[in-house]
Symmetry: C2
Subunit: 354 residues, 2 copies
């Protein structure tokens, strides 16, 4: 298990300069500085949990993220093998031909993205089965790009967008990071919408001026391609068109898929925020108080309150709590209901004996 990086999250968190920005979210520190003493504010298991956000420090500065490198390698292998295979069966593919290698690559891209114009179609058992294999592999790869690679690129560009938007105001890098943290998904939506608009414009203009389509046909071909519909009555027929398509089709289709993903994320986040607001502002009753009192001492302390409210928000479940409680009982060797230094030593000794 490769979670060595998670072994010292407290120390690494403290050494991280971007960590400072977190303070902006700390409560208006009255008495409860104590809650800041809890560690792991930025805990992210590096390769363990694919759904975790990247730690800020890793995603903005420094080298490429390992996930991203992996996606790039898979994509290169896929396109390399695809082009080679389809080039070797090029006589078994019918349709409008230009350059042999280019057509094979173009066919590979059109298949991978499931656009499937049909301007080139496999015409033998072998080429048909190859196309079947490459479309399934292409869909998996598309999913991988969406989940591991594309989001990473958007997060990198997000910084530039927010900086550009706040160009006229005096803001430091800390404020930029804070602004992104607060409205992350919204900025992603905005960025991806702008990119999609650029894809639309560039694609339409290219089809008008290079492929010689009318405005309506160009727009229709762009829509048909970006959505992976690909009726095939309009497609990229010239050499220049296919060179353009090889770059434009994958980026534009991924772009639209991302927009849909981010809109869904924004939607979920908005509802989640409304729920959090509702949970936090509703009146506590005596029933709540009694229910929140985990150790039955008649009062609810800060930790009990936090667990109660987070559970109500749906962020943690009873099963999560039960799992941790089992571990707590193991560690609490003297059965005092609290863990102290002596418990730790006793527990370690008993583990060593086992």
């Amino acid at each position: 298990m490769d979670c060595n990086g998670a072994g010292q999250p407290l120390l690494s968190g403290a050494a991280d300069p971007t960590h400072q920005t977190k303070n902006a979210y700390a409560p208006k520190g009255r008495r409860f500085r104590r809650c800041k003493s809890a560690p792991l504010a930025d805990f992210v298991a590096p390769d363990m949990n694919g759904n975790e956000k990247l730690p800020r420090s890793g995603s903005i500065f420094g080298k490429h993220h390992p996930n991203f490198t992996r996606v790039a390698v898979y994509l290169s292998v896929y396109l390399g093998m695809g082009t080679l295979c389809f080039y070797m069966v090029k006589t078994q593919i019918n349709g409008k031909k230009t350059n042999g290698i280019l057509d094979a690559l173009y066919f590979c891209i059109v298949t991978m993205t499931t656009v499937g114009y049909g301007d080139l179609v496999p015409d033998s058992t072998l080429s048909k089965l190859l196309a079947c294999a490459f479309v399934f592999a292409g869909m998996s790869l598309g999913g991988l790009i969406l989940s591991k690679g594309a989001d990473y690129l958007v997060e990198k560009q997000e910084i530039l967008l927010v900086k550009a938007l706040h160009r006229n105001q005096k803001v430091g890098p800390t404020d930029i990071l804070k602004e992104i943290e607060t409205n992350k998904v919204w900025y992603k939506c905005l960025l991806v919408s702008i990119l999609l608009l650029v894809h639309f414009l560039v694609g339409t203009l290219f089809l008008i001026f290079v492929e010689g389509l009318s405005l309506v046909d160009a727009f229709y071909c762009v829509c048909s391609t970006i959505t992976t519909l690909g009726y095939g009555d309009q497609s990229f027929k010239s050499t220049a068109g296919r060179i353009f398509a090889v770059f434009w089709i994958p980026t534009s289709t991924i772009n639209l898929a991302q927009l849909f993903l981010y809109i869904a994320e924004l939607n979920t986040e908005t509802r989640q925020r409304a729920l959090v607001h509702w949970v936090l502002t509703r009146k506590m009753t005596h029933v709540d108080l009694e229910a929140a009192d985990i150790d039955d001492d008649g009062v609810v302390d800060a930790s009990e309150f936090i667990i109660y409210k987070l559970k109500e928000m749906g962020k943690i479940s009873q099963e999560d709590i039960n799992e941790v409680m089992e571990e707590f009982e193991e560690l609490d060797v003297d059965q005092s209901g609290t863990l102290s230094a002596s418990d730790i030593i006793l527990a370690q000794n008993s583990q060593t004996k086992r």
Copy 2:
């Protein structure tokens, strides 16, 4: 805000007969019966958080879920409007025609799912723009079906699958629910894979015996359709074929998309479980003990331990905690560091005065 249903989760949870099964997950109750007293074990905000699992009681028994009804209504409106629009411009659509209404519905389905064979293609500005509009609306609808409707149907069928698999063993409904709860995503993958196999078989056999394709062509057409590739060299050309396609295309394409989603979910869950295991089994050190001690009393009680570990698992963040702490400080009017009945009364009075 429609969170009225969340107002009495404690009571509704207690009145729920399926709730009994939760006890199976409670810790091997030694001293800590106390943690069971915490409420909201099944708290789910019904319409607030789309990502939440449905409460078991709602998803298995009883009426259809509101999300599902909404998806069904949207789909009917989309197909109704689509068929009407494309029927009205039927003279502006070129290609192999059968029955007017059927062709319009078939074209609508082929567009909505982004299969886009191209056996029927729009041939006027109006029909092209209509196709553009319907493909974008169709993609959004597809996303909605995937996120709100399809999962609900799979969860309903999951019960039947698990019952069938355990037919020969003596198991009660409680055991079935427990088994599903533990291996939920795995059963979903299995179920959707079986359904996909059925779609493959039925589609291939239909194309061989009704459309008269060869085995390879039929398989190739099924692959090309299910993945929404749709080159269009093979498609449904007869009246019977198009009637079949109208039902088979949407269900099979959604089916494959679901399989990809569940595989991703399974992947994430496996890594999440590995992380939970690692967090729970790693040795507590004195540094951990100090860090977990939120109220600085030198010992770590159960609630502090739970918060510390859940944070380490990445299930809750410092921001979540800070938000709740702010509310706690508001409520803790006498600044005792604990909430008691008197705090609640004081807080309510001060809120009334405001």
